[in-house]
């Protein structure tokens, strides 16, 4: 296979994944939440159980007027949703789907790239918050930045633990080194990573920066139409990314019966199950207050992640 064709297939596959998986998660969110709350959910669009609801939503967003608030900084305002979406696209490039190089880009330091690029999301939050020229947005943005900066630390520490256990920073390498008993050994780190990841994508119960009932959507208040849809898309891709990273780092990625052939299926199943849990959390937990949220991060997650690092080193040196 010539290089350009190989490259084209990989890029196309990532684009398809990037465009399809978030829609699946979005539709699942509609339906799962509806079932958990004992209501019907969207049933009309498309005929069969409202399967076309998200497509209808997309059409609706495209039709809406693109409004800039008076006194906003237009350039920054327009750029912010793109900056919010971009890091997740890069991260999806590095998540391995199956064995034997079924990954868009196998990098020697993939894990490090993922953590570095996810950090760029903060800039998008601050950009949209400030450029909206709206005090609710600014409040939401400052909350968001404080939350993202704080939770990045347990996220990185938990990921460092599993990287130390595997002895590599390459994501496929980590999955290859993974053994089932790591589920217990790395359980605290996995828990910390998942919770910190939820906070990184600002999903409930960590949606204090958005807080629709008090900040009227925080840094997204002034966005309409397609730009708002970009933020929504970023949220759904974020679910995929956090579920995918947790799967790859802590749940053994493609490991499962007949991993040689069905590895991609195991990965997708695990990602789907974790996405379900993320949606489940949204309907289960009330929103955490700002001080509770920071307390959880600094007093529970960070010490837990540090303790896990010690445990990892101890077990690793005993082996």
């Amino acid at each position: 296979m010539p290089l350009w064709l190989d490259l084209l297939i990989r890029v196309a596959a990532v684009m398809v994944g990037f465009l399809v998986l978030p829609l699946v998660v979005g539709q699942a969110e509609h339906k799962v939440m509806a079932h958990m709350q004992g209501r019907v959910g969207p049933m009309y669009a498309g005929g069969f159980h409202g399967w076309a609801q998200l497509i209808a939503d997309g059409v609706k967003f495209v039709q809406k007027e693109d409004i800039h608030p008076d006194g906003s900084d237009r350039t920054v305002f327009r750029l912010a949703p793109i900056v919010a979406l971009f890091p997740y696209l890069v991260v999806i490039l590095t998540i391995p789907l199956g064995p034997n190089g079924l990954v868009a880009q196998n990098l020697d330091i993939g894990l490090f790239l993922v953590l570095a690029v996810l950090g760029i999301g903060v800039v998008a939050v601050l950009m949209s918050a400030w450029a909206s020229a709206n005090k609710y947005s600014l409040l939401g943005g400052l909350r968001g930045a404080a939350q993202l900066l704080g939770y990045e630390l347990p996220l990185v520490l938990a990921a460092a633990s599993v990287a130390m256990a595997a002895g590599t920073l390459s994501l496929p390498g980590i999955v290859e080194a993974w053994r089932p008993w790591w589920l217990i050994w790395q359980a605290p780190a996995g828990l910390v990573f998942f919770i910190a990841g939820l906070a990184e994508i600002r999903r409930p119960p960590f949606d204090m920066p958005i807080a629709d009932s008090e900040l009227v959507f925080g840094y997204m208040t002034e966005y309409t139409g397609l730009r708002f849809a970009f933020f929504l898309l970023a949220e759904y891709v974020g679910i995929i990314v956090i579920a995918g990273l947790t799967t790859v780092l802590f749940l053994g990625g493609w490991h499962g019966p007949d991993a040689e052939h069905l590895g991609w299926l195991w990965t997708l199943l695990k990602v789907g199950a974790l996405s379900f849990v993320i949606i489940w959390f949204r309907v289960t937990f009330p929103r955490m207050r700002e001080d509770q949220l920071q307390r959880l991060c600094w007093l529970i997650l960070v010490p837990l992640a540090l303790a896990q690092l010690v445990l990892t080193v101890a077990v690793k040196s005993l082996l």
Partner: protein
């Protein structure tokens, strides 16, 4: 010219151009955002040079943390959306100093390295970097760690009067009939190792 050369020149121009915009822009927050572009371009330069890990450290530390803290601080104090012309200063002296240092450094580097052909180095993988840091350079690494740790402890002591600082000296007594409280006003908490890690992931 190879592709790498062209990329070097383009990224270098991007870094210098956005760096110039950082200091010439009259919009406070936009300056910070140009700084993001400039530091990102420098990360790109590292990538072109084959230092992958350094490039992503640059993104993680500078783009993801340092600039964000800077923007955060600006937004907490004053950050009008429009241009803030009242903060402008005469451009003369600073331009002179900046141009002088820039040209001087450029001349120095050209003089030091021109026409010397260096062999292509191996790419700077995590493994090589780790061997260097924890082999040859382990002592400076540890010294720097202790420096950072003491800075963190200092920051915590300064920001939490309930665990470190002495009770404030009685400067003035506005109302003498208030009950005296010689001990610290706050209830002393367990001053153990909470919050060791401030917001510096570096």
């Amino acid at each position: 010219m190879t592709v790498a050369d062209i990329l070097m020149i383009a990224l270098g121009a991007l870094a210098v151009g956005s760096g110039a915009l950082v200091v010439t822009s009259t919009h406070l927050v936009r300056s910070g955002l140009y700084l993001v572009v400039s530091l990102g371009a420098i990360a790109g330069l590292y990538l072109v040079l084959g230092a992958e890990l350094v490039a992503w450290v640059q993104v993680l530390v500078y783009v993801g943390a340092v600039v964000v803290l800077l923007l955060f601080a600006v937004m907490l104090t004053r950050a009008p959306v429009g241009p803030s012309t009242d903060l402008d200063r005469p451009i003369g002296p600073s331009a002179l100093i900046g141009a002088g240092i820039g040209l001087g450094l450029a001349a120095l580097f050209v003089d030091a390295f021109h026409w010397i052909e260096y062999p292509q180095r191996d790419p700077g993988t995590a493994e090589r970097l780790g061997e260097q840091i924890f082999g040859t350079w382990v002592l400076p690494f540890e010294v720097l760690s202790i420096l950072l740790l003491s800075a963190l402890v200092g920051a915590i002591v300064l920001s939490r009067p309930d665990i470190g600082a002495r009770p404030a000296p009685p400067v003035e007594e506005p109302e003498p009939d208030e009950p005296e409280d010689p001990e610290g006003p706050e209830e002393p908490e367990a001053p153990q190792d909470e919050e060791k890690d401030a917001e510096v992931p570096a």
